[in-house]
């Protein structure tokens, strides 16, 4: 690795500090607002008496749906992540290991890539019509299905990179040792791609947790997720800045915790195959 000295080192650290500031500053600003009363926020005060009012209001007020929204988000993100991991891992294993005709495997992967490039907003219209027909509109199941569809391509690509890294001989050895193919997958390949499962799981969970556009259009007040709930603090005649900031900060906690534990695997997963 290149070791920086003198002015280069100073410039590098300055740039790094600037980059961190750009990322962290908005978050800190929102965190600051969450401890202010509405009036202090509107006045733009820098010196203010801190309060937990916004948090208490968001979490315990009888008129607040936020705990329900939080629960909805947990259900949607968890169930969609589990489903995405199961389907994505099996699909990736199949594409990586089974002898599909090349055009089938390539075609499938190209389709997932193209699907990943389509803006989710263009899918909302068809989904709205389909879900309304089959009774999934404004249900958690509908949103879970939509999130599975959105997150599947990325999961398949990531898991394929992990499976491709495992030498085929290891599975061959397991099959000679007495495994059926399914045993070789379960006992040998799956434990070896565990870091990939963690990385793909963290990313799928965070994407689902933060997803706004689809959730806004396909959920009702009872099934809204956290990002939708945060947006709803801005009403036509009143914007509850304090509550909005408090809800935003609360909503980052699960994702932050997951990223804290999973970031090592996420970085490894996203760069898999990039360097040997």
């Amino acid at each position: 690795m290149l070791a920086l000295r003198g002015p280069s080192k100073a410039a590098a650290y300055t740039l790094l500090a600037f980059g961190i500031f750009i990322i962290i500053a908005p978050f800190l600003w929102v965190a600051l607002q969450s401890f202010k009363y509405q009036i202090a926020i509107l006045q733009g005060a820098w010196i203010f008496p801190p309060t937990w009012f916004n948090y208490l209001d968001v979490l315990y007020s009888p008129r607040s749906d936020f705990p329900l929204n939080l629960w909805n988000s947990i259900v949607v993100a968890t169930v969609s992540t589990v489903c995405v991991l199961i389907v994505g891992t099996l699909a990736a294993y199949s594409l990586s290991r089974l002898s599909w005709k090349r055009w089938i495997a390539r075609g499938f992967l190209a389709w997932t890539l193209i699907f990943n490039m389509i803006p989710p907003l263009t899918l909302i219209g068809p989904w709205y019509l389909i879900f309304r027909e089959i009774g999934l509109y404004q249900t958690l199941s509908g949103l879970i299905l939509a999130h599975i569809t959105l997150n599947l391509p990325m999961t398949i690509w990531m898991m394929m990179a992990y499976f491709n890294e495992i030498p085929i001989e290891i599975e061959d050895a397991a099959r000679v040792d007495g495994c059926r193919r399914v045993d070789a997958f379960w006992r040998i390949s799956l434990p070896l791609v565990a870091p990939g499962l963690i990385a793909a799981g963290v990313l799928a969970f965070v994407f689902s947790w933060n997803e706004f556009a689809v959730a806004l259009n396909l959920t009702s007040r009872a099934t809204a997720t956290v990002p939708v709930a945060i947006a709803r603090f801005a009403q036509e005649y009143e914007i509850q800045y304090g509550q909005m900031a408090a809800a935003s900060i609360l909503s980052t906690i699960p994702a932050l915790v997951l990223m804290f534990f999973g970031q090592r695997f996420v970085v490894q997963g996203l760069t898999m195959g990039a360097v040997k």
Partner: protein, 350 residues
Amino acid sequence: MAEVQLENVHKRFGGVEVIHDIDLTIDNGEFVVLVGPSGCGKSTLLRMIAGLEAISEGSISIGGRIVNDLEPRERDIAMVFQSYALYPHMNVAKNMGFSMALRKEQPGRIRQVVEGAATSLELMPYLDRLPRALSGGQRQRVAMGRAIVRRPKVFLFDEPLSNLDAQLRVQMRTEVRKLHQRLEATSVYVTHDQVEAMTMADRIVVLDKGRIAQAGSPLELYDRPANRFVAEFIGSPAINVFPGEVDSGRLFLPSEEGRIDIGPVSAHEKKVDMGVRPEDLRPVDSGGIPGTVQVIENLGAETYVILSVAGRDVCWRIAGRPDVSVGDRVRLGFDLSHAHFFNAASGARI
């Protein structure tokens, strides 16, 4: 132990045939080495015996039972891979005992068998280590231990020593051979290294472009190669091949001094290739084939002298130290009964 029988075995990948009509019987307890250059189909053939590759045509039987449609786990075989193929998330003991654990044998019994194999392979101190904490040689021994613990009818080895350094390779060669003598199991060993084949095999099967070029004991192949391909492949340094012409029942070779009369040959062909092993060459005062010394390779106990003869390199093997120097003109003779003659067009032995 079991006999392995291959009958009219073919393998096609799409429209490309890579194994052509192989017929081969490997006897009970025999150590057979499949050898050939890269891409000759030897590993594919081994994988077909293992059940890791489907057979396009023909049949393979192990112990009298046709195994064409059986899964690898049902064939009662063990395989040692070139890349070792150890399970990275299991320690040495679990790697070695994996097949027994799959058969749901008692943990005490597994431990006993694993420790027995580990003792014979000097792996006892490493039983709790993960494969990544082992050296290449130790990993190779674990792979062999795993095969031993499986107690199979047939051992399959797919270039197991290729990833080891030269010294360790020689050592492991002996280990594999000792293992075979102790277990007396039928073994099929694939390698591209003819020295490995010569030193380890009861019988060598030389493959060329998916066909058996010759099968026989190492010395049979060395002394009476069935064709030019086998003659050139078996032996290190390789046999010297001189292209010649037959005229009135006598073989003539081109040289810098014009055509040299080598002697009578019983060949009907006009163009004949003559093969002479490097150790069969000897210096002569007159006659023989003239050449100029280009390179001298000293190995201590023996020396390889590379000469230029009519524009082509010829290797002369000397026991001990040479009394020639680079640039010397030397005349090389040989006993005609030690020479091999091949049809120049087909390569078949005459």
